[in-house]
Amino acid sequence: MTEIQPIIRLENIDVTFEQKKQSVKAVKNVSLDILPGDIYGIVGYSGAGKSTLVRTINLLQKPTHGNVVINGTYLAKTTDNKENYIASKELRQQRKKIGMIFQHFNLMNERTVAENVLFPISHLKLSKSQRKDKVNELLELVGLANRANAYPSQLSGGQKQRVAIARALASEPEILISDEATSALDPKTTNSILQLLKKLNIELGLTIVLITHEMQAVKEIANKIAVMEDGEIIERGSLLEIFTAPQKQLTRDFIDTATNLEDGLRKVKSQTAIKNLQAPDIFVQLSYAGASTDQPLITSLFKDFNVTANVLFGNVEILQETPVGTLLAILSGKDTDLTAAINSIKKQNVKVEILKGELA
């Protein structure tokens, strides 16, 4: 089997800002491969270096060290410890294949929607009717037809971002970089923009790099995640891996902002049913991902093992069409039945954590 070539390959990227008094290492030795068709989420708190890292992809930020390879073309390359960059004419060509959208939309205020959208392809000498068709096609794509002659100041935030997306797609790029594109929008608008990005990913095969400090946004559409802290990628993997088995505390914190599991756990633990837990009852956390949820778990506990479950908290996420769930429950029954039940659950690929009480 031939390996799929990454559309974006970052190798050992360093970005250091030399300032008057000190130098700031914004990105430290980061390597990252992004495959065609990925929606790659990069999450981290503000100041982690996310923007600086992704801006190296189109060389808006020149890396101090390291290789930037887009579709096999080196935009930046380290040879003999010296950093070389692609010539500016070729860079402009490469940039046309990498669209970018921003937190504050960055539309030109003095140009209409149509003029904004056509800006990246103004070098193509299109006829008036071709221009019109192109604008219509792009605005249709982002669900904003018939606002072509409006000025940005007449649009809502969500509409502005749609125009910005249309503009970013004008030169038919293969890659779209989204730097906090939904961070200035309300939750409902955020969701509609994310769904639009997902649609573009599926329909156009667009590779999307999605930077955000909101895990919720990544959870919605990404298939892979990297977590950044202090200029480094501290954890990476598929969405499922990251959500079901996070390794780092920061990752867990981020996931929690999207699931509220920690909060649920804290509230449940303070309930009297937990405080007054009587042996042999046990308080458990059941975590599952994928097919195992198709089994009627709770029902079978009672039917097959005579164990009753008092569910105190439940949360199910659908990540990339895969259900990922967490249950907090008190299981009651006879010693032996409990042990048998737990063993059976484990066999179904459900992770069991006993939070209080003991098995005999």
Binding site: K96, M100, E110, P120, S122, A168
Partner: protein, 230 residues
Amino acid sequence: MTWINRTFPNVIQLGWSSDLGWGTAIYQTLYMTFVSAIIGGLLGLIFGFGLVLFAEDGILANKPIYWILDKIVSVFRAIPFIILLAFIMPFTNFLVHTTIGVNAALVPLSLGVFPFYARQVQNALVSVDDGIIEAAQSFGATTFEIIFKVYFRESLADLIRVSTVTLISLVGLTAMAGAIGSGGLGNIAISVGYSRFEADITFVATLLIVIFIFIIQFVGDFLAKVSSHK
């Protein structure tokens, strides 16, 4: 007619087309204002754009060039206009082979107005959001496109506004240049009206200057308004 003759005797006497006539003076003021506005304006635009493009965070960041542009503008900005008039006389003589009259006045007027305009242009351009410039770069725009299609277009309303202010202060400078013999309405107000105690002449000359400034302001405001969509 008799009322006018009685109230403004000297105004009428000055006539329209003699060397010191009203028509001549109006023409001279317009000539000095607009020709030096074009020369000083171009210099100001070039320096103003230079100060933004070559600045540390500009798209053509270049410390030495920025430093030179900045110092030239600062130095000329610091010289009071009335001193500049005298100070650059040898240079004026070299350039237009005379030190009196409207053409001689063009040199100090252009040099006097350009640093002022350059700073105003700089301010107008700086107020274009960095993000907009960055977006244009991300779409592979050329430097030329960024200058004319982004900076210029996006700050057009501001540029018109600062041009209006500059043009108005330029009218003031022409009056000052007039005082040292370059002609124009300022010249009439001072060297005729004021020196000969013919107050009616000073009054009318001033009135004409004020009307001129009002027209500039009105047109400028109108153009700025129709070219802004923020």
